[in-house]
Symmetry: C2
Subunit: 341 residues, 2 copies
């Protein structure tokens, strides 16, 4: 794991210790006047219109920007783009819960950092160990099982864990307008992919139901795995070793490796998505580049250039300079989460 | 690159030096009485019937073995399963041709092994350097370009290079019965994947046309790549470093990473496919496991347990022991290559 990325993760993790006490109060916006049509949770405006215009341009046969359906590849970041990421990345919340769940089987953790501090509820002290501490937490909670066992662990957590602010299950904290956008694209012949810094096997168990994106269209970070026969039965074991970090310049690399076509549509929300957006934009023909700008401290969170989680700084400058579509959550979204009434 | 795999490759490469002079004479079998229907190049028999029976079992709604379409994942090895692999892996032929093509820009190769011997036409001496020599050849011919440049190189080679025995372009040496099988599966809701030891970016430029398999359904071996800005333009550079070898126990690992679902249908032809076949077979519910057995020295080649290329030994024992479907090329295929009349 590259040191700068680990550093970012740690900064983010530390920030959320504070964020738990200071972040914006979650509140549902009871939009009663919901619209109709495929993008009904979007307010009329430039963002919504630019999506519709683009989809028409590339999907109307005979038009000068027409793109054959198999080449209509759309890629989406996940954290902060399809679901929320505050006050800390949901996968980190999973890892912390998992340390607690595993503790009875690991009595030695009582005296061993970073686990000892974590189990006492002192996240800040636990992460004081820096990169090494974070890697230890991730490996202790994401490796050592078969892929099938890990899938069950993720499903169980997703079915029971609650977000500290909203009290909702994490997979309820997906963005309704983005779910509609994914559906709208697929209805127009697009193939929709997730390209996330999150773990592939952390996402696959729930994203098909949440977003309609099947497992084979989930690209993300991976740890190494190993095929073996266990009592004659083939299993794939998850090893405590990083394989690939799908963030920043890793995103175009992974798009090339897993998809092998350059997307014509990309949506992100942070500087971690910048290379993916640049790579998509640099292809020939019509392109759509979108950014979710978190501007809504009432219904969600408001953060951008200074945030340690989901920092949006350089990519926001790019967006303004290059004419990308910036979606202003507060202005452009009639509804944020599906559970809002 | 693992030493045992390199050793296999070298053994295979050395073997083909001899194979060029001793291998079976290629000959077209002018089957004039071609059948009709979706699998018309297959003779009636157990192999053809077992495919049809399986597809019916899993795709007829309400049946006890019904599998929903999104879970109908079919994986195919490429070399020796979808196209020929004698007298040497076609990608190795590409690498050797590429050394010759690049030689004028690399004057130092005249005095440097393994290139000096290769350029003199002495493959055996070139590969006497063992693992190190082979890796040098692969890296010198597959890395150092952008992904887009490499794609053009592969397309150009495929459009012009000729197989030493048949005089045909390499992408004409695909198996007509397997092309029909792929089409038949897709017509019945399957998603067809290649899972090959060959390089992903060597296959993607031509397999969509040859087999109807899009780039995003090609899983294979990879070298590392790097995103960078070149004069402000984003490119992905191919680095001279192995990323992943998609062979033997690598195949189930890659299936899990790229597809994230266990296939219900798998086809291979060699011991390099054994772990993929075992992994597929070990899933719950109905499964189809097929093997192409190269038994036709007249129309193609006859080889199995003793061959250094495409050795089929342990997997053939498994097939007999576990009731997998062994396709006897000579008996089961009415036609081998599309160019046969």
């Amino acid at each position: 794991m590259k040191s700068s990325r680990i550093h970012n993760l740690i900064t983010a993790a530390l920030a959320c210790v504070l964020a738990f006490t200071t972040s914006a109060v979650e509140g549902a916006d009871p939009s009663t006047a919901l619209g109709t049509g495929p993008l009904r949770s979007w307010n009329d405006g430039k963002a919504k219109q630019s999506v519709i215009d683009f989809v028409k341009r590339v999907s109307v046969k005979g038009g000068k920007d027409f793109v054959p359906a198999p080449e209509r590849i759309a890629v989406f970041d996940n954290d902060g783009t399809l679901w929320a990421e505050q006050p800390l990345y949901f996968q980190l919340a999973f890892a912390l819960d998992r340390v607690k769940a595993l503790a009875p089987q690991r009595p030695e953790w009582k005296d061993k950092e970073p686990f000892a501090s974590l189990l006492k509820g002192d996240l800040k002290a636990a992460l004081a160990g820096g990169e090494k501490a974070l890697v230890e937490i991730v490996m202790a909670t994401h490796a050592g099982t078969t892929t099938e066992e890990f899938e069950r662990v993720v499903r169980d957590w997703m079915a029971t864990a609650k977000h500290p602010k909203t009290g909702r299950r994490y997979n309820e904290m997906i963005y309704q307008p983005m779910v509609e956008l994914l559906r709208y694209l697929r209805a127009n012949g697009f193939k929709t992919y997730i390209v996330s810094g999150g773990g592939v096997e952390f996402m696959r168990p729930w994203v098909e139901k949440a977003y309609g994106i099947p497992p084979e269209q989930v690209v993300g970070s991976t740890i190494k795995t190993k095929f073996e026969l266990r009592d004659g039965k083939p299993v794939i074991m998850r090893l405590p070793e990083v394989d690939f970090i799908d963030d920043k310049e890793g995103k175009p690399v992974a798009i090339n490796k897993f998809i092998g076509r350059r997307p014509i549509f990309a949506f992100g929300n942070s500087d971690g998505d910048r290379e993916m957006l640049l790579w998509t934009a640099a292809g020939g023909g019509a392109r759509f580049i979108g950014i979710v700008h978190h501007t809504d401290a009432e219904r969600e969170w408001a953060y951008d250039r200074k945030s340690s989680i989901g920092r949006l700084d350089k990519a926001l400058d790019d967006a303004h300079g290059k004419g990308w579509t910036v979606t202003d959550m507060k202005k452009d979204w009639k509804q944020v989460f599906p559970f809002e009434k």
